[in-house]
C-alpha cells in the first residue's frame, strides 16, 4: 500500500458519493415526471453533502493541504476510488434506479456498520448519512418494485437493467489490504460480512418486483482499488472538472 489506508478508505466513501451524486445530477430537468425531478435532485444533494464530509475528512487525514474540492476536481481517473457500479452511465430511468437500489442497499448496510466505528468522526458522518440513505433505499426499492411489477415493457427494461448491472455488485463486498487495515483498527467492517444481509434484501425486493437475479455472480473489479476504472469515468471528469482545470487560479 503506497498511501495511508484511512485516507484510501475515506476516498472510497467520498468518491462513491461524488460520482453517484454527479450521475444523478445529470438527470436534472429531464425526469419522467416532475416529482421525480425533485426526488432525484434531493438524492444528488444528499450525496454531494456526503462527499463534502468524506473528502473533507480525507483531506485532513492526508494533511497535504487538499480540501474536498481539490480532491474532487483535481485528481485524474487513476486516483478515484469509487466502485465501478456508481460510474456506470445513467441509461434509461430504470437503469438509473436499478443502479441506485443496488448501491443504496450496500450503502445503508455500510453506513449502519460505520455508526459503530472506533473513529468518532467517521461514526458521526455515517450517522448523518445513514438517515438520508434510509430514505434513498426506500425510494429506490419502491421504484424497482413498481417498475418491475408494472407493464410488460417496464418489466423487460428493469430485468435488462438488472442483468447489465449485476456484475458490478460483487466489487462492493471484496476486501483488500485497505479493508483489512480498517477492520483491524475497528474503523470499518469487513466488506464480506455485509453480503448476507444484502443478498436477503435484494432477494426480497426482486421477488416483489417479479425480477430474476442473474445466476452468474461474476464480479468486475478495479474501481475501489483504482487499478482499472471503466471508460465512463474519464468522460465524466472532462465535464465535472472542466472549470477547475481551465481556470486553475480562480476562486468560485
Amino acid at each position: 500500500m503506497s498511501t495511508d489506508p484511512k485516507f484510501e478508505f475515506l476516498c472510497r466513501m467520498g468518491d462513491n458519493a461524488l460520482v453517484l451524486g454527479h450521475r444523478v445530477s445529470e438527470w436534472c430537468g429531464t425526469a419522467p415526471v416532475l416529482e421525480e425531478d425533485i426526488a432525484l435532485a434531493n438524492m444528488a444533494l444528499d450525496l454531494i453533502g456526503q462527499t463534502q464530509l468524506w473528502l473533507g475528512m480525507a483531506g485532513e487525514v492526508e494533511g497535504a493541504g487538499r480540501d474536498a474540492d481539490k480532491l474532487a476536481f483535481r485528481r485524474d481517473v487513476w486516483d478515484f476510488r469509487n466502485v465501478l457500479l456508481v460510474e456506470q452511465p445513467n441509461g434509461d430511468f430504470g437503469q438509473t434506479m436499478m443502479r441506485q437500489f443496488l448501491f443504496d442497499a450496500w450503502h445503508l448496510a455500510q453506513l449502519t456498520a460505520l455508526i459503530d466505528s472506533s473513529d468518532k468522526e467517521i461514526a458521526a458522518i455515517a450517522e448523518k448519512s445513514a438517515k438520508e440513505v434510509t430514505y434513498h433505499l426506500e425510494r429506490s426499492s419502491d421504484t424497482v418494485i413498481g417498475l418491475g411489477d408494472g407493464t410488460e415493457e417496464s418489466h423487460r427494461r428493469m430485468q435488462a437493467a438488472l442483468d447489465l448491472l449485476w456484475p458490478y455488485v460483487g466489487e462492493m463486498f471484496l476486501g483488500d489490504d485497505v479493508d483489512a487495515a480498517m477492520k483491524d483498527a475497528g474503523i470499518a467492517p469487513d466488506p464480506a460480512i455485509l453480503r448476507a444481509g444484502y443478498d436477503q434484501l435484494v432477494r426480497d425486493t426482486l421477488a416483489a418486483a417479479t425480477l430474476t437475479k442473474p445466476e452468474d455472480d461474476f464480479a468486475h473489479r478495479g474501481g475501489k482499488s483504482g487499478a482499472r476504472h471503466s471508460e465512463h469515468l474519464g468522460h465524466m471528469l472532462t465535464q465535472m472538472q472542466w472549470l477547475q482545470r481551465a481556470y486553475p487560479d480562480a476562486t468560485w
Binding site: C28, L34, I38, A44, L147, G150, S154, R157
Partner: protein, 312 residues
C-alpha cells in the same frame, strides 16, 4: 356588465380574494389559466439553461446551490400547476399544450447559457426581473395564485442573492472571470428587459387584466423599476451595462435607457430564439422517454389496489 359580473368586480375592487368554488367570468378563468400555466411552464423549461451547468459547476458547494435552485424551480412549477388545476384544467393537459407549442413559456429561457458567469447573470438579472413581476402578484385577486406567489417570491429573492453572489465572485476574480462576467451581462441585459413584455401601448391583455387584478402594474413601470434597481448593482460590481444611452435623469429621478430590440423579441416568440427548438425538443424527449415509467408505475399501483381489494 350583468349583476354577477358587477358583484365579482366589486369584490375584487374591495381587495377580496376569489376562491376556486366562487363564480368567475369565463375570461377571468381563461386568462388566469393562460397566465398561471405559462408561469408554471417557465419554471419547468427554466430548469434547462441552468441544468446545462450542473455537471460543470466549479465546486461542490456551487453544484449543491445550483442543483437546489433548479429543484426549487421544479417545486414552483408544481405549486403553479396545482393553482391552475383549481381552475379546472389538468396538469397533463397543460403539459401537452406546452409540448405541442400551443402554450408558451417565458422567452428568456430560449437564450443559451454559455459560461459559468451565466449562472450568476441568470440569478441576478432573470430572477431579478421575475421578482419584479411576481412580488405584486402576491396581492393578485385569485387566492390560490396569490398564495403560490408568496411561497415562490420568498425563494426567488434567495436565488437572486445567490446569483448576485456568483457575479460578485466573478467580477472580483481573475481577469478571465471578469471577462466572463461582463460577457454574461452583455448577453443577458436586453433579454432581461424583454421579460416585462412590450410597451403597454402594444400589450393586448393589459387593461382587463389590471381591472381583474391578475396583472398589478404596467410592463413599462416594472421595467423602469428593474433598471433603476439594477444599474447601481452593476456599478457596484464594476461591470458595464451594454447600453451607451443609459443615463440617470435628474428630472424624472429615473434612468433613461435604450429599448430592447423588439423585432428580436417577436422572433423569439415566433420560435426563432437561439434555443426554442432545443428547449421544446428536450422537454418532449423527457416526456416521451418517460412514458414507459409513468405507465409502469400506474400499472403497478392498479395491480396493488386490486390485490388489496381481493384480499379484503
Amino acid at each position: 356588465m350583468d349583476p354577477e359580473e358587477r358583484a365579482f368586480q366589486e369584490r375584487i375592487n374591495a381587495g377580496g380574494k376569489i376562491e376556486p368554488k366562487d363564480w368567475m367570468p369565463d375570461g377571468y378563468r381563461k386568462n388566469l389559466i393562460r397566465q398561471i400555466g405559462q408561469h408554471a411552464h417557465s419554471e419547468i423549461v427554466g430548469q434547462l439553461p441552468e441544468g446545462n451547468w450542473i455537471t460543470r459547476a466549479p465546486t461542490l458547494e456551487r453544484k449543491a446551490i445550483l442543483l437546489a435552485k433548479v429543484q426549487d424551480e421544479a417545486g414552483h412549477g408544481l405549486y403553479l400547476y396545482c393553482a391552475a388545476e383549481t381552475l379546472g384544467v389538468t396538469r397533463d393537459q397543460m403539459t401537452r399544450d406546452l409540448l405541442s407549442g400551443k402554450m408558451k413559456y417565458s422567452s428568456i429561457f430560449n437564450y443559451p447559457t454559455l459560461t459559468w458567469a451565466d449562472m450568476g447573470a441568470v440569478g441576478w438579472l432573470v430572477d431579478g426581473a421575475a421578482i419584479m413581476n411576481q412580488v405584486p402578484l402576491q396581492r393578485t385577486s385569485y387566492g390560490p395564485y396569490a398564495r403560490a406567489m408568496v411561497r415562490i417570491c420568498k425563494e426567488e429573492s434567495f436565488h437572486q442573492r445567490q446569483g448576485f453572489d456568483i457575479m460578485m465572485k466573478m467580477a472580483k476574480g481573475t481577469a478571465a472571470q471578469r471577462k466572463m462576467a461582463q460577457d454574461a451581462l452583455n448577453r443577458f441585459w436586453f433579454p432581461a428587459l424583454m421579460m416585462f413584455g412590450p410597451s403597454d401601448k402594444d400589450s393586448v391583455h393589459s387593461a382587463q387584466s389590471m381591472a381583474w387584478k391578475i396583472k398589478m402594474n404596467t410592463n413599462d413601470e416594472l421595467r423602469q423599476k428593474f433598471v433603476d434597481e439594477t444599474v447601481p448593482q452593476a456599478e457596484y460590481l464594476g461591470l458595464t451595462i451594454p447600453d451607451e444611452t443609459l443615463k440617470f435623469n435628474e428630472e424624472t429621478g429615473h434612468y433613461d435607457f435604450a429599448e430592447p430590440d423588439w423585432e428580436e423579441f417577436f422572433q423569439v416568440l415566433k420560435g426563432n430564439g437561439p434555443c426554442n427548438t432545443e428547449r421544446l425538443a428536450a422537454r418532449n424527449k423527457a416526456w416521451d422517454e418517460g412514458r414507459w415509467v409513468r405507465e409502469g408505475l400506474l400499472a403497478h399501483a392498479e395491480k396493488k389496489r386490486s390485490r388489496q381489494m381481493a384480499a379484503e
